[in-house]
């Protein structure tokens, strides 16, 4: 891509320009940007409690990892030339965003390489050429960096970029088939926000089979020697390595966490205040999700039942999607990220920033996606409407909670349409490949090559 580096540099410069105004824009207190789990203000409070020899989980302010307290905590109290104390943290987030963009680019390159290799094996040279012209990785990383939601998340004093980094690192590690890296990132991501635990399936598939490829029946149809070309051989060695490293990193992180807590609190208490807080949806302050409103309204004796229903909803989707998209583990990971972004207890625009960036990785496959313009307009409308409705409810007093919840519902609907459309387009793409091969195998191989 010709303009790649200038675009990357300008995106970073744009962030650096906005960082000093972050406090004026008051993004850190926006419910769309900072959630109780990712708010830097809460982290600063947790750090202050820890410094006062109290458990950071005392009270109900902090619900994040103790490791983040150790890394980011000291930076939240440092002031540089009278600037906001969150300035250094914001600079770190700018760097994290850059890292995420580079990782997305690398993932994109690996996907394109794998696709081209597969198309050459299937003797679809035309498709291979078209995949080479659209550098999905470059476009995805530029889209990620220039996405206004990413910029707001980066500038808005919340720890979402770090969570996102770990998720992207997991996918990158798995795509590159580096088991220790994938294991580390997966353990960290799960430690930070629990939901990436379901990435275990795509990571296993990625490590076992390698990056996305067309369905295996196409290779059989083309009589490609599967064992000979190493297209679809499941590598148990990497899986065992991954399991081993997961065990090591998990122990390591637990030890680090307990050291970080300095005996002020115990690990079960940490789990209760982090994972427990996520699963029981204790904080009902408004956010762009739908759970806060639902649990504010629901009768207490139904609460546990609906908590189970909502969380199992995510798990219900895991297996069918995994079966249907086994051959596309990267895309599967993207769909999982979208699903949890929609159904998680405390969603923020940071989640949308991540999956919208990853969506572009599949630009070639999703070229035929329907309703793209409608979804695009919907995202713009909802992201502008949400702060206005919040203002109408909280500040002007002329609206009420239903106004804000309505935008949350619209946002959830949009995400549902995006998931449904992207998955169906991907399946249609596979069907189209199958048809293409069917017609080409019926004609002579020479004719196919010529086309």
């Amino acid at each position: 891509m010709r303009w790649f580096w200038p675009l990357v540099v300008s995106a970073l410069a744009c962030r650096l320009l906005l960082v000093p105004f972050a406090e004026n824009l008051n993004l850190g207190s926006r419910p769309e940007v900072a959630t109780p789990l990712t708010s830097l203000r809460r982290l600063a409070e947790g750090y202050w409690l820890k410094q006062s020899s109290m458990s950071p989980y005392a009270g109900s302010m902090y619900h994040g990892s103790p490791l983040l307290l150790t890394i980011l905590g000291p930076l939240t109290i440092k002031r540089v030339h009278g600037q906001s104390s969150h300035l250094i943290c914001s600079l770190i987030f700018v760097f994290v965003d850059f890292l995420i963009a580079m990782l997305i680019r690398a993932i994109g390159q690996k996907l394109v390489q794998s696709n081209c290799k597969n198309f050459k094996l299937l003797q679809i040279s035309k498709l291979a050429k078209s995949y080479e012209c659209v550098e999905a990785g470059d476009v995805a990383s530029v889209v990620y960096l220039w996405n206004p939601l990413t910029i707001i998340t980066c500038v808005g004093s919340c720890t979402s970029p770090i969570d996102n980094l770990m998720v992207v690192l997991t996918i990158y590690g798995a795509c590159s088939r580096i088991a220790p890296l994938a294991a580390f990132a997966w353990v960290m991501a799960t430690h930070f926000s629990l939901y990436p635990a379901i990435l275990l399936i795509p990571v296993t598939l990625l490590l076992g089979y390698g990056p996305d490829s067309p369905p295996s029946k196409l290779f059989h149809m083309k009589n490609v020697d599967v064992t000979g070309t190493l297209v679809r051989v499941f590598s148990w060695r990497l899986i065992i390595q991954f399991a081993f490293w997961v065990a090591i990193w998990s122990c390591y992180i637990l030890v680090l966490s307990s050291i970080s807590l300095k005996g002020l609190d115990r690990l079960p208490e940490m789990w209760k205040k982090t994972y427990g807080f996520i699963l029981t949806v204790e904080d009902l302050s408004p956010n762009i999700g739908v759970l806060w409103y639902f649990f504010a309204e629901v009768f207490d004796f139904f609460r546990v039942f609906f908590l189970i229903v909502f969380h199992v909803n995510i798990l219900f989707m895991v297996l069918p999607l995994a079966i249907r998209l086994t051959h596309r583990p990267c895309f599967l990971a993207f769909v999982y990220i979208m699903v949890w972004s929609m159904l998680k207890s405390y969603p923020s625009v940071g989640d949308a920033a991540l999956y919208l960036g990853l969506l572009v990785l599949f630009a070639n496959e999703l070229a035929e996606m329907k309703f793209s313009f409608f979804i695009f307009c919907g995202y713009i409308g909802v992201s502008l409407l949400s702060p206005v409705m919040h203002n109408l409810w909280i500040w002007r007093g002329t609206g009420n909670a239903n106004f804000y919840f309505a935008t949350g519902l619209a946002y959830a609907c949009l995400q549902t349409i995006l998931i449904v459309e992207s998955v169906s387009t991907m399946l249609n793409h596979d069907r189209m490949l199958w048809k293409w091969l069917k017609t080409s195998t019926s004609s002579t191989p020479a004719a196919v090559q010529a086309s």
């Binding site: 105004f21 004026n24 824009l25 008051n26 035309k126 498709l127 078209s130 070229a367 035929e368 996606m369 329907k370 793209s372 313009f373 695009f376 307009c377 713009i380 409308g381 502008l384 409407l385 206005v388 409705m389 203002n391 109408l392 500040w395 002007r396 007093g397 002329t398 189209m432 048809k435 293409w436």
Partner: protein, 653 residues
């Protein structure tokens, strides 16, 4: 082939009703848009007919149910204070007024202190539109007396009226709420909103220090239930009755709860016999066109009412003219987004507030007239305070979103949304129609190859242009910040530099991104129109939530332009007359919808074209941004870019 056709027909039959209705609307988009736009405009004209009489929603208010305690004695006391103040003014010792009022307050047993403030020159602040707190800093410029003791509601009057009510209220021990009387010094700030803003900001906790130390100990009462700004105007003209003008419009079209206006209106009319007025446009009242229209409509509405008396739409022609003039004024001041009087400062903190401008029927210098006027005014204020005192919570029963067509008539949000919705509905329908035509065209060409060109994403290049134009609009909206920093600029030069900077930046954009001609090769004008319409509809819908009136006025200009626009060079299959008239209408709309032209034309029509100056638009914009009105953002970030995009389509080769 036959079987394929049958299956297709079967599928079409099977499709759901909503899908069929949708596809019918999309396929007849031109007709639907014409019908909707005309219906929207007609319904807007009929709003005065559909207005309902106001009623007090909150039962607890019980206005006028208690016998007033404000007596002639209190009126005499007020008169004495007025004379004392006049004497001080005649001696040229203006600074002593604050001390005098403070002294009187102390005498009735109130807590008194002086609140220092700075009447800051309002300036362009780009972040001011998005941050809720006002950036007023306190400074010692003049004395401003404020008092807090078992008190609520700020009663502010220069003519002793408030003092006498205040002194009365200090004697009534059963009052459940505190009264705050702020006697504001409005010499340095004629609109005096700054002073009130200063006070209300500080009241709500913005305790800023000045010169490193705080001046007075700021005393607070509880949450403010309501605020009344009282102003007495001594007009020279003689009238039959004392007059009360109610001003309710606050920043960004926010209105106080209708119950507050209702109780003031009820007490003023039915208890004190005042002549109550709300803002109205005089030139519309005298408009011959409107009178003709009203004469035509009046029999029709009466006929409609005779068919069903429950409809209550019967209106006589004078009421219609009056209602339309009041509605237009109500809509204009809400659309402007600038508070009409100092009560605006309170509304920003969710306090329902209005300004009451009292004017006596004769000269205040006449002893008897002044006493009876003060008695009536005092009893009115007392009645309102006693009603508000009955409330256990804030006003919430009645409407917040409404237009007034008379002091006792209103149009609620449920009705006034309909014309706007009718105007905006054609936008998505036309966008869908355009998108479907371009999509079917491109899919037909793409079906030849298996690897279809991504026709579902063909809007991306147009979206890129739309984004760039909006980016340019952001620059244009920020330019006044730089221009206003330059010294010795009058409005005409500022306007000239604004235009020249804007033009130069758009040319720079063209240099960087490619000229419109080069773009024309990339995008299809239909897709560009579709994306422009999407941008316009998002902007209008968003604005309708922030400030409905701005969106309504904007929609009347922007919607027809967006719907009608198509390249001038593309031939239409119509008769010569219709083709020429359509092209002419497009050009007229294009001129009318350009914000400075709209402003100049409307000013010219209302005040005569001789009064229109080159720098007027700059002054108007300055007025908007100094009050952080969202209308400025609408004009520069929604209306202007959509107009530029429409020009792109119009000039498409």
């Amino acid at each position: 082939m036959a079987s394929e056709k049958e299956t297709k027909q079967g599928l079409a039959k099977k499709s759901r009703l909503i899908v069929r209705v949708g596809s019918f609307l999309v396929s007849h988009s031109a007709l639907v848009s014409v019908i909707c736009c005309i219906a929207g405009c007609v319904l807007l004209l009929l709003l005065p007919v559909l207005a309902k009489s106001t009623y007090v929603s909150e039962n607890a208010l019980m206005p006028g149910s208690a016998t007033p305690m404000f007596s002639n004695q209190d009126a005499l006391e007020a008169n004495r204070l007025v004379k004392d103040i006049m004497r001080i003014l005649e001696d040229g010792r203006e600074m002593e007024i604050a001390q005098l009022i403070g002294k009187r307050m102390e005498d009735v047993g109130a807590e008194v202190y002086y609140h220092r403030f700075r009447s800051d020159n309002l300036h362009f602040n780009p972040l001011g539109f998005f941050s809720s707190a006002c950036n007023m800093v306190l400074k010692n410029s003049s004395g401003c007396t404020s008092i807090g003791i078992s008190s609520v509601g700020i009663i502010r009057a220069p003519r002793g009226l408030a003092y006498s009510v205040f002194s009365l209220l200090s004697r009534v021990v059963w009052l459940a709420k505190d009264i705050v009387w702020l006697a504001a010094d409005s010499r340095h700030d004629p609109r005096s909103t700054g002073i009130d803003t200063c006070f209300v900001n500080k009241f709500h906790g913005e305790d800023r220090k000045f010169d490193g130390r705080t001046y007075d100990v700021f005393r607070r009462a509880g949450t403010m239930a309501a605020a009344l700004v009282v102003k007495v105007i001594d007009k020279s003209e003689r009238k039959e009755r004392d007059r009360l003008d109610i001003y309710a419009e606050a920043s960004n079209g926010q209105m106080p709860n209708l119950d507050l206006i209702n109780i003031v209106h009820y007490l003023a009319v039915h208890r004190q016999g005042l002549d109550v007025k709300v803002g109205t446009f005089k030139y519309l009242q005298n408009s011959a066109l409107l009178k003709h229209l009203s004469e035509m409509l009046s029999p029709l509405t009466k006929l409609a009412q005779s068919l069903n008396p429950g409809w209550k739409v019967g209106i006589n022609s004078a009421d219609f003219v009056e209602g339309t003039a009041t509605l237009a004024s109500s809509m204009y001041y809400q659309a402007l987004g600038v508070p009409t009087r100092p009560h605006g400062a309170f509304r920003d903190f969710q306090i329902d507030a209005i300004t009451m401008e009292l004017s006596p029927r004769g000269r205040l210098t006449i002893e008897n007239g002044a006493s009876s006027f003060l008695l009536r005014g005092g009893r009115l204020i007392e009645g309102v305070i006693r009603s508000v005192n009955n409330l256990l919570e804030k006003f919430h029963q009645s409407f917040f979103l409404y237009f007034l067509t008379a002091p006792n008539k209103f149009v609620s949000v449920g009705i006034y949304m309909i014309p706007f919705a009718l105007l905006v509905v054609p936008l998505p329908i036309v966008a869908a129609a355009l998108f479907s035509t371009t999509e079917s065209g491109s899919s037909a060409t793409a079906s030849s190859g298996v690897v279809a060109e991504s026709h579902t994403w063909n809007w991306l290049s147009s979206a890129n242009l739309v984004f760039n134009v909006h980016l340019w609009a952001v620059l244009v909206s920020l330019l006044p910040y730089l221009i206003s920093q330059m010294p010795l600029m009058n409005s005409a030069i500022s306007m000239l530099s604004w235009i020249s900077f804007s033009l130069s930046t758009i040319f720079i954009f063209y240099l960087l991104m490619g000229s419109p001609n080069s773009y024309a090769k990339v995008y299809n004008w239909k897709v560009l129109k579709c994306v422009t319409i999407a941008a316009a509809s998002i902007g209008l819908c968003l604005m309708s939530i922030i400030n409905f009136s701005t969106a309504q006025v904007g929609a009347m200009l922007l919607v027809p332009l967006c719907l009608m626009v198509r390249p001038l060079k593309k031939p239409i299959q119509l008769s010569l007359f219709r083709r020429t008239s359509l092209q002419f209408a497009k050009l007229v709309l294009a001129v009318l919808a350009f914000p400075p032209a709209t402003f100049a034309i409307s000013k010219g029509l209302l005040q005569g074209f001789r009064s229109v100056g080159f720098g007027d638009f700059w002054e108007w914009s300055e007025f908007l941004w100094t009050w952080n009105s969202a209308t400025y953002l609408y004009v520069t970030l929604v209306h202007l870019p959509c107009w530029v995009l429409c020009m792109h389509i119009l000039l498409h080769p």
